[in-house]
């Protein structure tokens, strides 16, 4: 069994939810990313999602766009990110998901990437612009190395699409909370709970909610309907404040702990 599935199963036994924080690799530099990964792993992250920067992040809002731009300015690359994961895995066993856009993976070469990713300890991949219809070549390469492929479901995903997603999805379904881009929001999609129930009925996988989550209260509101929560932009905003104030990630850590607490 893959490590991500195992995490969800163990949390279910304890009646807890998976807390999945996100960060953009290399934002603003590798050293900072290393520090934040440690902070996440030692303060209650169940799985960590690492964003792979791309020059044209079409599904991301301004916060992650800016994070990716900062990282690319310091010439982050997939090779450096795999190296980062490999170093992290020497100390921590927290499962790692790489989330990004297809072209950096495609440019690296699917087979070669899958092999190198396995060697570094990557557990799962989510390519935002890879719908199931196009997924086969990358999926197969990852499957050969026992790396799982994660797929999105959204408030506008219909039954037909859920069946297409079901064919490839492993680990958990990444439920997008709003039709829109990433970024903190005050309210999530109106019909979200019905949609989550529909997804759960169709696909037998845990469901984690992401995009737009801005507070522990929001997690509480949806707590009973889900198996996990993914938080990205809200954490990056705190990290940026800490960097500006030259504080050793105090605001980030306080906020992080408040999110971890409601999940567990």
């Amino acid at each position: 069994m893959n490590k991500i599935t195992k995490v969800f199963e163990e949390l279910l036994k304890k009646n807890q939810k998976a807390f999945i924080p996100y960060l953009t690799a290399g934002d603003p530099d590798i050293e900072t990313t290393e520090k934040i990964l440690e902070l996440y792993a030692s303060n209650g992250a169940d799985i960590i999602e690492i964003g792979v920067p791309f020059s044209d992040p079409m599904a991301d809002g301004p916060v992650i766009q800016a994070a990716m731009e900062r990282a690319l300015k310091n010439s982050i690359s997939l090779k450096k990110i795999l190296n980062l994961v490999s170093n992290f895995k020497k100390k921590y066993s927290t499962p790692i998901i790489l989330m990004g856009y297809l072209n950096p993976f495609f440019s690296y070469g699917f087979e070669k990437f899958a092999k190198d990713a396995k060697a570094s300890g990557v557990d799962g991949i989510l390519s935002v612009d890879l719908p199931p219809e196009e997924a086969t070549p990358f999926y197969k390469a990852l499957k050969n190395q026992e790396i799982i492929s994660i797929f999105l479901a959204t408030p506008v995903t219909n039954q037909k699409r859920l069946h297409a997603i079901q064919k490839f999805a492993e680990g958990f379904i990444y439920m997008v909370s709003v039709a829109g881009v990433t970024g903190e929001r005050k309210n999530l999609d109106e019909g979200l709970i019905e949609k989550i129930q529909e997804v759960k009925k169709t696909i037998r996988l845990p469901v984690a909610l992401g995009f737009g989550i801005s507070s522990p209260e929001m997690i509480q509101k949806y707590y009973s309907h889900l198996d996990g929560f993914i938080v990205g932009s809200a954490l990056i905003n705190r990290m940026e404040n800490d960097l500006k104030n030259q504080s050793p990630f105090e605001e980030l850590k306080t906020f992080f702990l408040s999110l971890a607490k409601v999940c567990h």
């Binding site: 044209d56 079409m58 297809l102 612009d129 219809e133 997008v176």
Partner: protein
């Protein structure tokens, strides 16, 4: 590999094309695909579109024999006068058809990206005509270069949003249009302006642009009683080129030549010649040639013309090149400017800087085309470019 007129059911032209968008957009893409396939065969829709193209756009556009230029360079050159379309470029053919399609889908709002501003103006015009709300995304660098078109869109009742991220040009405007679409997917149609992006766009845009080729084919046969030796068109995303090429692809003796933006020269790295300097990648919804770095990040491009200043190229062009049915070359900024002024002086036609690349290429390679019969797709007029060209000329002195 044999050329097939229609991409496969997943939107592939050979190895190129496909549909690479986030899950949020897939229902909208599927709805678009279904509606387009239906409307393609719907007589009422086709008649309505034809009527607008005739009475509103001014089609058919003339195929004009450029006598003086032909004499000067010893070839026989015909210009397909898309510059005479309403709003001044071929872009209206596609924009009008897509806005009509949006209306059939019950959408109340359209969005578009624009580089040179021509597609933005065309979409704003069609939205005004058909009564839909319209918003256009444009890089701030392009807004500077094309301020006249910005004002035109505003006059037409469209909201123009400046994009200050990335290279501040066409590709960044496309990113932002996609983000808008993801957010307003229920009531909005994205009028993509070129034969690019996720399936069905490259196919659909070609179909809406193929009217150029259909007309030119009949017109040249009538005028010369034969087919041309070559058809030349500039290639940004590649909609005007695929529009005129589409009718001639089956006639293998007709050379098809696409002209990309060579900027300040390939060696300088400051260009948008995807075939000369790129390799295959997945970008903004499709698999095609892409100017990218070793890590798969899209590169910043350069061209004097905003409409050609783009990192990738329509997938059908990649396919036509792969099967050697079309060839692709480039014209530098300097050659394009030469094409711009030569056509103005010799024929009294001021071409768009985009189309000037095709003219500039032809002039630079005049020897190769000696005594040949050529059609050049004059995709747009240059009114929008005169201020920029004036600045460039003053700086050169």
């Amino acid at each position: 590999m044999k050329y097939k007129n229609i991409p496969d059911q997943n939107g592939y032209f050979g190895d190129f094309g496909g549909c690479f968008v986030s899950e949020t957009l897939m229902p909208a893409i599927e709805e678009l695909k279904e509606t387009f396939v239906k409307m393609r065969k719907d007589k009422k829709f086709q008649n309505e579109l034809k009527s607008y193209l005739k009475n509103y756009v001014g089609r058919p556009t003339p195929l004009y024999f450029a006598e003086k230029l032909s004499k000067k360079f010893q070839f026989k050159l015909y210009l397909k006068r898309e510059d005479l379309c309403h709003t001044g470029a071929h872009k209206i053919n596609n924009a009008l058809a897509q806005v009509l399609l949006a209306k059939k889908m019950g959408k109340t709002r359209v969005i578009a990206e624009t580089g040179a501003g021509q597609h933005g103006v065309a979409t704003a015009t069609a939205a005004s005509l058909l009564g839909l709300k319209c918003r256009v995304y444009m890089g701030t660098e392009d807004m500077r270069r094309q301020s006249l078109n910005v004002f035109r869109m505003q006059l037409l009742g469209t909201e123009v949003i400046g994009i200050d991220s990335g290279s501040k040009t066409l590709k960044d405007a496309i990113n932002e249009a996609f983000r808008d679409w993801v957010t307003h997917v229920k009531d909005t149609h994205y009028v993509l302006g070129t034969a690019f992006g996720a399936h069905p766009y490259p196919y659909m845009v070609r179909e809406f642009m193929s009217v150029i080729g259909t007309e030119a084919y009949k017109q040249i046969k009538k005028a010369e009683k034969r087919l041309p030796d070559a058809v030349i068109a500039c290639v940004g995303g590649g909609s005007n080129a695929i529009g005129i090429f589409s009718s001639f692809i089956k006639d293998k003796k007709v050379r098809l030549i696409g002209v990309e933006a060579g900027g300040k020269g390939i060696e300088s790295g400051l260009h948008a010649a995807r075939f000369a300097g790129g390799r295959v990648g997945v970008f903004q919804g499709t698999k095609s040639y892409l100017l990218q770095d070793e890590n798969g990040q899209a590169l910043t491009t350069h061209s004097v013309s905003a409409g050609l200043d783009y990192a990738s190229v329509g997938p059908e062009h990649s396919f036509l090149r792969e099967i050697k049915r079309a060839s692709y070359s480039y014209a530098t900024d300097e050659e394009a400017l030469n094409g711009f002024s030569t056509l103005a002086k010799e024929e009294g036609i001021i071409p768009a800087l985009e189309s000037s690349h095709a003219v500039g290429y032809l002039i630079s390679h005049a020897e190769e085309f000696k005594n040949q019969l050529i059609i050049l797709n004059l995709s747009g007029r240059g009114d929008k470019d005169v201020i920029q060209v004036k600045e460039i000329m003053e700086n050169m002195q």
